[in-house]
Every structure is written in C-alpha cells, then in structure tokens.
C-alpha cells in the first residue's frame, strides 16, 4: 500500500471509485452452408453469451463470384456463408437487431459490396444507417501477401478502401471501414518485428492515400486516423506477444502524432481485435491445442494497456478441418471464464514498470522502426508488395520457422517431441470430431439465387450496374452506386464483374523466386544424387507442376513445397492459385510434367481431386501423369483420395519437407519404372 493510503493495484473510475473493466467483445468466427443455416448458428451463439458477430463468407463470395460460377461450385458454403444478393442478407440477419449488433465481416476483395449490402439491409428495415457498428476487414495488402482473395490490381483496390473510409466517416461514423491485419502475416511466417512493421506500414499506406486524395480537412483526417483499427495475431510465445501488443500501441501513438499531427489522444489509440494463432495448432494430438489457445489468449488480455477490443478464438480441431458448434462453444467458454471468473479485469496494467517487459518492448519497437523505414524508402507498402519484397521476406521467415521445427530447435509438443500418445478421445464421436457441410442444404443457396434473379426488375439491375461502372471510370465514390446495386438485387458476381471490366484482374507476385531453404545434410545430398541419376537416365530433371485448384488462396504450403523441390533439384512449374482443375491439367499436359501436386486447404479436396482425375481422362493423360494432394485433409479422407486415383496424400502430419520431397520423387521413379 502506498504511503498516501491509495492502492496502486486498485482500478478506479474517473471519480476515483473502485471499478472493474468491461470485458472485450466475445466473437466466434462462423458461417457455413447457406444464409439460413448460418442464421440459425448466429442466433444460437448469441443465446450462449456471444456479444458480437464475426461472419465467415465462403470463398466465392470473397473472390467475387456468385454461387453458380464454375470456379465457385466446389466451394459454395465450405469455409463460410455464401451471399449472392440482398435477399441472402435478409435471411442471414433474420431476428438479429442490426442497430444493437457489432458485426465483423471477414471480407476483403468484395468488402465494399458486403458493406453496401449491410447498409441496404438497414435501409430496407428502416434503420438509420448511422447507427450501424462493426468492421469490414478490407485489408488488401495481406490478401496479396498471404490470403489470396484479392480481385483487382493494387491501385483500384486501395481506391476502394479509401472510398469506404470517406463514406463511413460521413455516414456510418462507428464503422471500421478496414481492419489492418497482421494476423495473416504471422500465419504466413512473420516474426513479431515483421508483423509490427508490415501492419503499420500498411496503415500508413492507407492514410497517406486518403490524405493525398484530399477529400478530408485536418479535423476529418484526425478523426479518420482514429478510425483505423487492427486485427492482430497472438502466438504461443505469449510474453513476447504481449510485448508486441504494447509495442504496437506505442508505435501507433507515435505515427499518429508525428506523421498525421493527431492531437487528440483518443484518435491515437491502438484499437485492435484478435484471433489467436492457428499456425501453431497441430493435427497431431489435437486436444493439446486447447491449452495453446488458452495461453495465446493471455498474450492479448493480460496487459490492460494493450488489451484487445474484441477476441475470437479458434477451436482445438481447426488444424483438422472445420469446427462444430460444440467446439466453438468450448472456445467461447474460455473467454467467459477468463473475463468473469478470474480477477483479471479488476486491476490496472500489471506490467507498467516491469524492467523485462519494457526492455523487450523497446527492442521490438527498434526493430520494427527500422523495417518501417526500409519499406517507406522503397516507396511504401504498395511498392514493397509489388516488388515482391514483403512476400519474399515472409517466405524466408516461414522457411526458417519450418527449419527450426525440423531440426528440433523449436519444440512443438506432439509434433517433434513427445509424439507417443494415447488416441485422442475428442476425435472418438460418431462424427469423428469434425464438422461436415450438409450438401443438401447448400442447395438452398443455389435456389435462393435463382429466385432472386427471376423476381428482380432486369431494367433496374442494368441501370444500377451501369451507374456503378460509370462511377468506377469517372473516379466518383462507388459506395452509393453499390448500395443502389444491392437494393436492385444485383448479385455478387455481377457487382464484381462490373468492376473487373473497369479495373482488370490482378495476379500477385509469388514468394517462390529466389528462395532457399535450410535443408542440408546427408539426406539432401542423397536426394540430389537420386535426382541426378533420374536426369541422366531420362534426359530431363523431374518436372513437377504445382497449383492450387479452387478459390482458397492460402498459398504458403504450395510455395514451401515448390521451393523445397527446386532446392532438391526438381524443375518446378508453379502455376499459382485460383485455378480450375482443367487449367491445372492443361498446364501439366503442356509442360509434359512427371507429377502434378495440388494443395487444398478449403475442405473441397474430394470434389477437386475427382475433377482433376476427370480432366486427366479427358486430356488422355490419366495414368501418364500421377497426382499427389496435400493440405488440411482428415485422415479419414486419405483412403477415399487414394481410391480416386491420387498417388500420395500429404496431411498436416507430413510436415517434414525432405520427407515430402523424397516421397514425391518416389512416385515419379515408380511411375517411370512402370511405364518402361
């Protein structure tokens, strides 16, 4: 107790009375199958004490395709809810009061469209749009770097973001037009300093653009800085992660003050939401992930100064596939116990004055500052993305991480240490501990789309789309024309196509060029000898075509495998993301590949593998070119894939790269021997 009788450990309110903090917003990232099925889920989650919504959209919606597009078909309702038109939004939010809800939407390439739908829904319900609260993720930089659901080139994409800020500041003041994401950077391998630097450089890129566009005076610009919010990751090294959050808060305060002259401390506050790390969750002994999630949660809640505003937790089985409702409930209960049973929210910051925390934070700040300076010197975040600088840095960090795990320098319990364990009882239920999308209910989405198209006024649709295209060409703000499109029952695919016609489509740089991996040693030497022998007796190096079919853009796995195979001596043709099975097979045929390797994380592996086999048949190449599949594939599906003709299946438990490359070469050698 201090000499004046005050208790530094007591949290007090503005009047000096003892108080307790309000908890952060509890969210669960959810959505699947159809608008109807997702609405049922949201209402159930809210009844369980969830305090905000976090909407997961399916990949077609995220990539700007309606459910009936050929690229969309295998993906509808898989990783989120399909939204084709305003009619779907009416169903999705049925019985949910928009004016009381804080809604977060994980949407990027089509974020303006989804916000327009939300505003249009409010208008049709007679709700003042100024009362809407929530967030559109809308961070295109990390889509180019890691997540892959971009559509348009950087300039057009950045314009869409800026226009949403401009619209929201005037019309929906409590809406976060975008969430600057460092979350996905960590998932792609970023170190804490990289996470800090890349995210802050990204925020600078948005604000610099808004300032340059000159639509805001100084006062509005200051408020706009106050609207920037962040979406951060929290990994298992939770002390360092906590320091990272404190570093974020300090650096953001400094940037807001010095770069944008923000006087009001309220507008300099680092506001952030969190989803804790999924990268470190393991498929092996998956029950251990529950502890990892708990510890990661501490990193973003312990320090009051750097506590998150909203938190969503993954589930213990996320490394295996999609979670069930029960799994999500279990994660929500963790948040509730931490916020309401423990005494965490009764204290001021626990770490002020800690020599260790302050020194660690200062170190992260220094590293991040020099990296931010480097990016700004390059011309800012857009230049650093377009040149491939940031992508290459992430791939390098990811490769280093994998190498540490392979060498055992970084312990991952159940994966590279203490791997002997009893079978997981959590996986023992009738459903195998996993969620499966009900394909019959996916038909609801298709039926709803058909109804919308039949019932709408075609002339109105054409006028709304023409007005949108005109705004896109003239440089006028596209938000209001998008809302008009929503009201006219334009579809997601139509809205996106209108802008594709004006802006074109973009292909991001890959991180695969110029990379090397820390794979050395006798096994690599032996592997290279085997490849040299193959090349000598066949007249060419083993040729591997790598691609990602479907709309899932998480390309890190495919890239790391490509780099590893090249490192061993393969000629690797990397054909990129968002490919149809027909495109992958055409590549393999033209390239006369010895092997096709596809990576699928979206859960559509059975459909896609079957389609690839059918395309090989059609090209007359079935049996000529073997196929391997890797990704988040449940052990139970391995046999099905093998039966469909897939030569090898790589699941999350096959994490050792040299092993993967050896097995790929094995498939090629075996196939060549059988053909000879």
């Amino acid at each position: 107790m201090a000499t004046d009788g005050s208790k530094p450990h007591q949290l007090v309110d503005a009047d000096g009375a003892p108080t307790r903090d309000r908890p952060w917003i509890f969210r669960t990232y959810a959505g699947h199958t159809s608008a109807r099925a997702s609405n049922e889920l949201y209402r159930a989650n809210l009844a369980k004490g969830q305090t905000g919504l976090s909407i997961a959209f399916d990949l077609p919606t995220q990539c700007g395709y309606s459910s009936d597009h050929p690229l969309a078909r295998p993906e509808v309702g898989k990783v989120g809810v399909p939204i084709n038109s305003l009619d779907d939004f009416h169903v999705l939010f049925e019985g949910i009061p928009l004016e009381q809800m804080n809604t977060s939407m994980t949407i990027n390439g089509t974020s303006m469209w989804l916000l327009a739908l939300y505003v249009a829904l409010a208008r049709e319900r007679g709700i003042d749009e100024a009362r809407l609260r929530g967030t559109t993720q809308n961070d295109i930089i990390k889509e180019y770097l890691a997540r892959g659901t971009y559509i348009f080139p950087p300039e057009a994409s950045m314009r869409l973001i800026a226009e949403m800020y401009e619209y929201c500041l005037e019309k929906i003041p409590d809406w976060n037009a975008s969430n600057v994401c460092s979350y996905h950077l960590q998932e792609a391998g970023a170190t804490p300093a990289q996470e800090l630097a890349f995210a802050l450089a990204n925020a600078i890129g948005i604000l610099d653009l808004i300032r340059e566009r000159g639509r805001f005076d100084a006062d509005k610009l200051e408020r706009c800085v106050g609207r920037i919010s962040f979406f951060v990751n929290a990994g298992i090294r939770f002390v360092e992660e906590m320091c990272k959050m404190r570093a974020f808060a300090d650096l953001w305060d400094e940037i807001a003050r010095e770069r944008y002259g923000v006087g009001n401390p309220r507008y300099r506050r680092f506001r952030y939401g969190v989803q804790v790390n999924s990268l470190g969750l393991t498929a092996a002994q998956p029950e251990n992930n529950a502890w990892r999630i708990l510890l990661e949660t501490l990193g973003v809640t312990l320090s009051r100064k750097a506590r998150c505003r909203a938190l969503q937790l993954p589930t213990w089985n996320e490394a295996l596939l999609l979670p069930r409702e029960w799994d999500q409930q279990w994660s929500l209960r963790l948040q509730q116990i931490l916020a309401y049973e423990t005494d965490l929210l009764e204290y001021p910051d626990l770490f002020d004055g800690s020599v260790v925390v302050e020194s660690k934070t200062a170190e992260l700040i220094a590293e991040a500052r020099s990296e931010i300076d480097r990016i700004l010197e390059m011309g800012g975040v857009r230049a650093a993305v377009e040149s491939g600088y940031m992508k290459a840095a992430l791939v390098r960090s990811m490769a280093a991480r994998i190498a540490r795990i392979n060498r055992g320098d970084q312990v991952v319990v159940g994966l590279n240490k203490w791997t002997e364990a009893l079978p997981s009882l959590l996986l023992a239920g009738d459903d195998g501990g996993l969620f499966k999308v009900d394909q019959d209910r996916v038909a609801e989405a298709h039926a709803a789309l058909e109804r919308t198209v039949v019932n709408r006024d075609g002339a109105l649709v054409a006028r709304a789309l023409a007005a949108l295209e005109e705004a896109a060409k003239s440089g006028a703000n596209m938000m209001e024309p998008s809302i008009e499109c929503a009201l006219a029952r334009v579809t997601t695919g139509e809205w996106s196509d209108a802008l594709r016609r004006v802006f074109g489509e973009y292909r991001a740089v890959t991180g695969v060029e110029g990379q090397s991996l820390d794979l050395e040693g006798e096994r690599l030497t032996a592997l290279r000898q085997r490849i040299a022998q193959f090349a000598e007796s066949h007249g060419h190096r083993p040729r591997l075509v790598v691609g990602k079919p479907g709309l899932d853009g998480h390309s890190n796995g495919a890239e790391v495998i490509s780099v590893s195979a090249r490192h061993a001596g393969f000629d690797v043709i990397y054909s990129g993301i968002r490919l149809t099975p027909a495109e992958i097979v055409a590549s393999a045929v033209e390239e006369n590949a010895d092997l096709i390797g596809v990576s699928i994380l979206s859960g559509s592996h059975l459909e896609l593998a079957n389609q690839i086999m059918a395309e090989l048949d059609a090209a007359g190449a079935r049996g000529r070119i073997p196929v391997i599949v890797g990704g988040i594939i449940p052990e139970g599906d391995v046999a099905t894939l093998r039966a469909a003709g897939v030569a090898q299946v790589f699941t999350p438990s096959d994490y050792e790269l040299i092993d993967v490359v050896e097995r790929m070469l094995g498939v090629i050698e075996e196939h060549a021997a059988a053909a000879a």
């Binding site: 292909r507 090397s516 027909a582």
Partner: protein
C-alpha cells in the same frame, strides 16, 4: 514419331508437350528421334516467326506475353501461338522454379495457344540450353513463337540468335534510375516497349529517359528507335504492339543462320576450343555438308572421337 508429329500438327497439346521434351532431352541417343520428327513435319504449312521478349525482372514480360498471345489468336482465326518462357536454374541444386505461368492465363480449351516453361539449365545467355532446339520444333507447328527470356539484364544477348525480332521491355521509373540505359543490352533489341503505362507519370519518365539514352547509344543506326507504350492492365497500346509484330514485312532471319550459330555454340560447349579449331570451314559449311542438324552433330562427334586432335 510420325503419329506424334501428326497429332502435334493438329495442335494436340499432349503430343506437343511430349515432343518439346524430346527436343529438350539431354541424351545423345535421342538425336535420331528428333531428326525423324522434323522430317515428318517438313511439309507442314506453318513456319513460325520468333519474337523475343526481354527485359528486367518485374518489367511485366509474362503478363504482356499472355496478352499478346490472346490477342494474336483473337485477330486471326487461323493463327497458332506458342509461348516459351525461360527461367533461371539454381546453380546449387540445378533445379528451377518456373513461375511465369502464374501470370499467363490461356483458356484450357484453346488449342491455338500453347505455353511452355523452360529452365535455363545454367546457361548464361538469357535463354536456355534447350531453347533453340525447341524452337526448331515449334517452327513447324505455330505461326508465332514468343520467347520470353530469363530477364537478368546485361547477359541477355543470346535471344537475338533465336528470335527474328526482339522487344526490350522497360518498366516505369521511380526517381532518377537511368543507369540501366547504359548497358550493352540496348544494342540487341529491334524495338522497345515501355510497359505498365497505367502508372502514367513514372512511365512517362521512363519513356523520355529511354528515348534520350537511345539517341546516344545507337548513333550509328538509321532512323529513330521504335518505342511502344503498353499496359496489360488497361490494354493501352497492346493492339499497336500486336500489329507491329504481326506485320508481313517483319524482318526474318534464315533458320540456316540460326542453326549455324547454335551448332558452333554446341561445338564450343562440348569440345571447347579444340572442337572449334576442328570446325575448319565454319559451322555453316559443316551443316551444309550434312543432312540436317542432328546428322551434322553425329558426324562431328564421330570426327572428334576418331581423331580428337587433328585429321
């Protein structure tokens, strides 16, 4: 080989893909198969023109090549176009990561567009060891072959011996980066393209810097340098560039000259200076005296084996 050749002539991709591998094949014993394929293709009506596309990494070669291919087949219902995109091989592992496909999207059902990636196989001239061999095949199968080079700048001189006509891509300039203009590569291209003209200001800078330094570097040449302005994003200038490379009077280099150059290169690679000295009358004479490239190679190899030092 005859069957493969016939289906390749019908632009069957599986057959062309396999034949390209035959022409890349490093084993000496397949030379006879190559000769047989070429003999089967000799009466093909097509004789491709070879267009070189070179330029530094990031200048947008692949994306532009994709656009050119699509436009060439769209403007002429009979035209068939192949792209050969060369990427570097690792000097450590010998393997390569060929990523140009990520930026080119041809409809999988379009037979008249063919794309092939090729590793440089540690050759330093900007094209691969197998590039010319594959071009000999594609000569009889397509109307246009677009050869995209590795793109590492100053060493990109080999393309002029493969291509009939070469375009150098230049990207928009930030600030005062003009030193690239001094490189010896400026002598190779027949025409220039300032690409990414959607970034108008920086592209204008590049255009003017290029024009100025070309006037200096190419004093001896007649006429002003040809510079195109393109953007694969907005489509600006693409039709003009397509019209240029498709014009009937585009200069062509005789296949015999190219064969002579690469025959000499092959001798140098295989037998060094000793070999070159034994190529007494020059590569063209040696080729003329034998029935085709493969036969000339076999005869020369035999000569080196029977009396490696002197006749």
């Amino acid at each position: 080989m005859k069957d493969l050749g016939d289906s390749a002539r019908a632009l069957d991709k599986l057959s062309i893909g396999r034949l390209v591998s035959l022409f890349e094949d490093t084993r000496a014993e397949v030379a006879g198969d190559r000769a047989a394929v070429l003999a089967a293709l000799a009466d093909s009506p097509r004789r491709a023109r070879f267009i070189g596309i070179t330029g530094a990494p990031g200048s947008g070669k692949s994306t532009l090549v994709g656009q050119l291919g699509t436009r060439l087949v769209a403007r002429d219902p009979d035209a068939a176009v192949a792209v050969l995109a060369v990427d570097p091989s690792s000097h450590v592992s010998g393997g390569a990561l060929l990523g140009d496909r990520t930026r080119v999207r041809f409809a999988p059902g379009e037979k008249r567009l063919f794309f092939r990636s090729q590793a440089s196989d540690r050759d330093l001239g900007g094209v691969g060891r197998g590039t010319f061999q594959v071009c000999r095949l594609l000569y009889y199968l397509f109307d246009y072959v677009l050869v995209e080079t590795v793109g590492i700048g100053q060493s990109e001189v080999e393309i002029q011996h493969v291509a009939d006509y070469t375009y150098l891509l230049v990207q928009p300039l930030a600030g005062d980066q003009v030193q690239f203009m001094k490189a010896g590569i400026m002598e190779v291209p027949d025409a220039f393209v300032v690409n990414k003209y959607d970034q108008v200001e920086a592209a204008e800078r590049a255009y003017h810097a290029l024009e100025a330094s070309l006037r200096m570097a190419r004093l001896g040449r007649s006429g002003p340098p040809v510079i195109f302005k393109t953007s694969a994003t907005t489509g600006v200038g693409l039709d003009e560039l397509v019209a240029d490379l498709a014009r009937p009077d585009l200069p062509r280099k005789p296949m015999a000259d190219k064969e002579a150059y690469f025959f000499e290169k092959w001798v140098r690679d295989q037998y060094g200076r000793v070999g070159l000295r034994r190529l007494d009358g020059g590569a063209a004479t040696w080729l003329a005296a034998h029935d085709g490239f493969e036969a000339a190679q076999q005869a020369f190899a035999a000569r080196m084996v029977s009396s490696p030092r002197a006749d």
